[in-house]
């Protein structure tokens, strides 16, 4: 049991590393040629432009720079402050805005000609794709943890968090089924539901795919690794009664995620569930030994503990990745 658990964890870890590597190779941001070397966000309210040579001081006034979100060109902003700093042979212009920028959306920055021989520039500023993927993962894992901040999957959460062993078992089985069903749901949504305008069948199709993947994992595990099946088989039925497994495909569909984003969302959601289960089971094992008033024993005290975890997870809201 112990060693099979460890093997499974290694396989999962390796799969995650492989996905991250592929993403890094495929989507590493290409550097711009010419005058502008690099663009990017810095902090909540700043956009930085790295240039090859310094810009004349008289051009560094807020009116010369205009920024807007790519999908919302009507709302134009001027920076409140433009600063220039030379560091390590590179020249960095930083534009400070008075309101926080929505870093999830790409921004367009327009400038007047900054050197005598360059034209007026229109620059696209976006987070690196890897950063975007990482943000989806961390967001589903911690900031919008499905159990503690979205209150989903609670029946299974309270049912299987009495012992650490059951908690990890449930979490790992859930992660596998979640990944499989999210990927299948993405293909079904992208290549069947959208082309044939069958959007209204979302719920039926997604839950059907979940039952299908539960059945598939059940059959494969039974044949391939009967020992593992004996310890994990009981959790498979519970997976289907967990709201998270249907909430993730619905969220994916409403946000029009692509495949990699969907995988990250599924990993984050399932990892967050595993994390929540592990934390909760660690506390509940100790609660068994604690002197608790008779009427609070069992579920009531578990709910209050979960409430405290939820309060603690509120601390992650507002977390920003660089």
């Amino acid at each position: 049991m112990k060693s099979s658990l460890r093997n499974l964890a290694i396989i999962l870890g390796a799969a995650a590393a492989l996905i991250a590597l592929v993403a890094a190779v495929l989507f590493w941001p290409a550097s711009n040629d010419g005058f502008i070397l690099d663009t990017g966000f810095s902090g909540d309210t700043k956009i930085t432009l790295t240039t090859t040579s310094p810009v004349e001081k008289s051009l560094l006034v807020p009116q010369n720079f205009t920024a807007f979100e790519e999908n919302d060109p009507d709302i134009q902003m001027h920076p409140v402050k433009v600063k220039q700093k030379l560091s390590g042979g590179k020249n960095v212009l930083s534009l400070t805005f008075d309101a926080p920028l929505n870093r999830a959306n790409p921004h367009i920055v327009k400038t007047v000609p900054l050197t005598s021989d360059s034209p007026a520039l229109s620059l696209r500023v976006e987070q690196s794709y890897l950063g975007h993927l990482l943000f989806i993962l961390i967001s589903a894992l911690l900031i919008n943890n499905y159990v503690f901040t979205k209150y989903l999957g609670l029946c299974v959460f309270f049912g299987t968090s009495k012992r650490k062993k059951t908690a990890t078992g449930m979490g790992i089985v859930f992660t596998i089924v979640m990944l499989a069903s999210a990927i299948m749901s993405w293909f079904a949504y992208r290549y069947v539901l959208i082309p044939f305008h069958l959007d209204f069948l979302q719920v039926v199709v997604f839950i059907g795919l979940v039952s299908l993947s539960v059945q598939a994992v059940d059959t494969i595990l039974r044949k391939v690794n009967p020992v593992l099946f004996k310890s994990f088989g009981v959790f498979l039925v519970l997976v289907i009664a967990n709201c998270i497994i249907i909430a993730v495909p619905l969220y994916m569909a409403s946000n029009q995620y692509n495949l990699l984003e969907t995988v990250m969302l599924a990993l984050g959601a399932a990892g967050g569930f595993l994390l929540a289960l592990y934390l909760m089971s660690s506390v509940r094992e100790r609660l068994d030994l604690a002197p608790i008033p008779e009427s609070f024993k069992g579920l009531p005290i578990a709910f209050i503990t979960a409430g405290q975890f939820a309060l603690a997870f509120l601390g992650f809201s507002g977390l920003q990745l660089i």
Partner: protein
Amino acid sequence: MANTLTKPQLLGRGLLSQNPIFKLALSMCPAVGMSTTVMTGLMLGCAVLFVQVFSSLTIALFKRQIHPRIRIPTYTLVIATWVTVIDLVLAAVFPAAYAQMGIFIKLIVAFAIITMRLETFACKESVPDSFVDAVGMGFGFMFGMVVIGFVRELLGSGTILGYDVLGFKPFMFFILPCAGFFVVGLMMAFFNWIEQKYRERMANKS
């Protein structure tokens, strides 16, 4: 297997002795996440009642045709069909309330209480009995949601169904999203305490 309980007993069982929220502790997600006001609880309760009644009826009608090995996927698909129906109807008729409840209407498909009633009751019993049982369970769920919503709305914002009752706000804490856990936990403890006292009194009398 014939059912030995009378119809009023079946109805009362869902409301009290086997209340889906406080006694069976199933479908806790909406009880924590969607119970800030009485109105949302009532709305979601109506939707669950609808899905529960119609899926129970469907399964009770077709129970002889369903092979036992594929019964769970069948239940899920039947529930998903009725959830899609209520989802589309609510989106068309009550767009404001629908926007407020957001994703939870679609998530009814994964509520454990509905599958559990199909598995333990509707697939064995007659159609009228299944209907009464489903109505009882649906109203039990609605009752639980309304009670939690009542406590949170009264204590959190001093109103009931949007009408100002108290004139002041006793504890803002109760309308915070994460207070749902505390309210449900405290109410469960309260019901346990009452049951305990009641049993002690019974034991003393005899």
